[in-house]
């Protein structure tokens, strides 16, 4: 290995194109813009949030939307003591699998909480909407403990 200085240059990798999200993902994202959360009913009756286009077990095309609550319970979580620059929250926070009321399948999002000790599996959380909703998953800015836990 040479002791010479290594040349370096910043490089930003990005998707420089736009995509159509289609009737399933698009309907969900449009719902978020309107501050509503929709799931979809799987072949076995379970409600999947966010909705999937096809049933992962049967490959059947899914189409029955079901509105679910903005509140739910934590199924699993981890505590990020040192958030990374790309992370959506700057203060220590949790990633969590959250089963919203009315849904059977948990979704992954971030949870703002004052400390790791304030969180637990089964804890109730509530969606916090972004000031401006634009039809992205990040229209849910984050979740917070329900009932003034924050």
């Amino acid at each position: 290995m040479s002791a010479a200085d290594i040349l370096s240059q910043d490089f930003e990798l990005g998707f420089t194109y736009t995509r159509s999200t289609g009737p399933i993902v698009g309907r969900f994202l449009t719902g978020l813009r309107d501050r509503q959360i929709f799931g979809i009913r799987a072949s076995d009756g379970r409600v999947i949030v966010p909705p999937m286009e096809y049933d992962p077990d049967t490959a059947e095309a899914l189409s029955e939307f079901v509105q679910v609550a903005e509140q739910g319970a934590i199924v699993s979580w981890c505590w990020v003591a040192q958030p990374r620059a790309a992370h959506p929250l700057d203060e220590p926070f949790a990633w969590a699998m959250i089963r919203l009321d009315g849904a059977d399948v948990p979704m992954i999002h971030c949870v703002a909480a004052p400390a790791e000790a304030s969180l637990a599996t089964g804890a109730r959380v509530q969606a916090v909407w972004a000031p401006e909703t634009r039809g992205f998953i990040s229209d849910i800015s984050h979740f917070e403990l329900a009932g003034g836990g924050n």
């Binding site: 699993s76 981890c78 003591a81 992370h87 990633w95 979704m107």
Partner: protein
């Protein structure tokens, strides 16, 4: 069906940072090493070449094409690539030989992932609408899985620390290891949490580097006159990309692949498992139904160093090395891809004699 022989394998040192070396410079020494093992000159002397790498790690589309410079592809060669660990390049080459389209194949996997923030880079390979925009990193996803395992009572933090302690101890005998040593379970448990419930020690140390392998028909192996191991079974299965719909405390796809590859048809003396996080080795050992008579990751596994896009091929290579040396007669190798063990490959290797 055409039997497959593994005849050569080489892996680079696991480097925390490869510095100024580019991918071609990481690959070439490994290619030279496997050519020397079978006594050939270059890639013109095999019928097929397949590589595994990930354009996200290099940060450019079709970046893998540059790796072909390591081969010297003139006159033209038959070449292919998988945007996956090179264990899946092995799978493609096995199909090619079984179909009678080739008698020999060269495989290699490589990555220099130190150029970027790997857990964040990999977040961009997740669901592009629901997960990638959140930048949820791979360590955090593994931590969600670890907590499910811990709270289900299927494993304890002590069990996870035991995986790390054993792996690092085994890595003392691995000349390519980035991390090895004697550390007690209690010392590991005393370390701070990183992404709770994971400690840094629960995360395999990521490394830059490359690995290469040559496989062929048994007739070709005899012609080359080198020791070989038989690849008696290989299969891979994938689970849904929706993490919420998987049982993250089990590895259903590993179970299916193991059955199809014939793991249970004989004793498993050694199992080399690609478990990037300590709790995942526990999940995999259970899914493969390994007993106490199986030595798991005698090389230290990826806790010796996790060569992105090559660690899966290296698991196969480690089992091959032990069979070719006459140390063991039968072993299992495993490779994984995707978050929380989404996609799994299982291979069974046996002594030819």
């Amino acid at each position: 069906m055409q039997q497959i022989a593994i005849v050569a394998f080489s892996q680079s040192d696991c480097l925390a940072r490869a510095g100024a070396a580019n991918e071609v410079e990481l690959i070439m020494p490994q290619l030279q090493a496997v050519y020397a093992q079978v006594g050939i000159d270059n890639a013109q002397d095999v019928d097929f070449v397949c590589s595994g790498s990930c354009d996200y790690l290099q940060g450019a589309a079709f970046a893998f094409v540059a790796g072909v410079d390591a081969l010297g592809a003139v006159p033209p060669i038959k070449e292919s690539h998988v945007e996956m660990d090179a264990a899946w390049a092995l799978y493609e080459a096995v199909l090619k030989i079984r179909m009678g389209h080739a008698d020999s194949a060269l495989l290699y996997g490589f990555a220099k992932s130190s150029s970027g923030e790997l857990p964040i880079v990999l977040s961009q390979q997740l669901d592009p609408y629901y997960l990638a925009p959140l930048w949820v990193d791979t360590v955090s996803l593994a931590a969600l899985q670890a907590r499910l395992l811990l709270e289900s009572g299927l494993a304890s933090e002590r069990d996870m620390a035991e995986v790390v302690a054993r792996s690092r101890r085994n890595a003392l005998d691995n000349p390519h290891a980035r991390l090895s040593g004697s550390v007690s379970v209690d010392e590991l448990l005393a370390e701070d949490l990183f992404v709770s419930p994971l400690r840094r020690a629960d995360c395999a140390p990521v490394a830059d580097g490359a690995a290469a392998m040559i496989i062929c028909t048994v007739e070709k192996a005899r012609e080359w006159g080198v020791p070989y191991a038989l690849l008696s079974g290989i299969d891979h299965r994938i689970e849904t990309h929706n993490l919420g719909m998987r049982d993250l405390t089990d590895s259903v796809s590993t179970r299916l692949a193991a059955r199809a590859a014939g793991v249970e048809d004989g004793p498993v003396e050694v199992a080399e498992l690609y478990a990037p996080f300590s709790h995942q080795e526990i999940i995999l050992s259970r899914a493969l139904e390994l007993g106490d008579d199986t030595r798991v990751n005698p090389s230290g596994g990826v806790f010796a160093g996790n060569l992105m896009m090559a660690s899966g091929l290296s698991r196969v290579g480690e089992v091959f090395r032990r069979i070719a040396a006459g140390e063991i007669r039968r072993g299992v190798a495993h490779a994984t891809s995707g978050p929380c063990l989404q996609h799994n490959l299982v291979a069974v290797l046996e002594s030819a004699s």
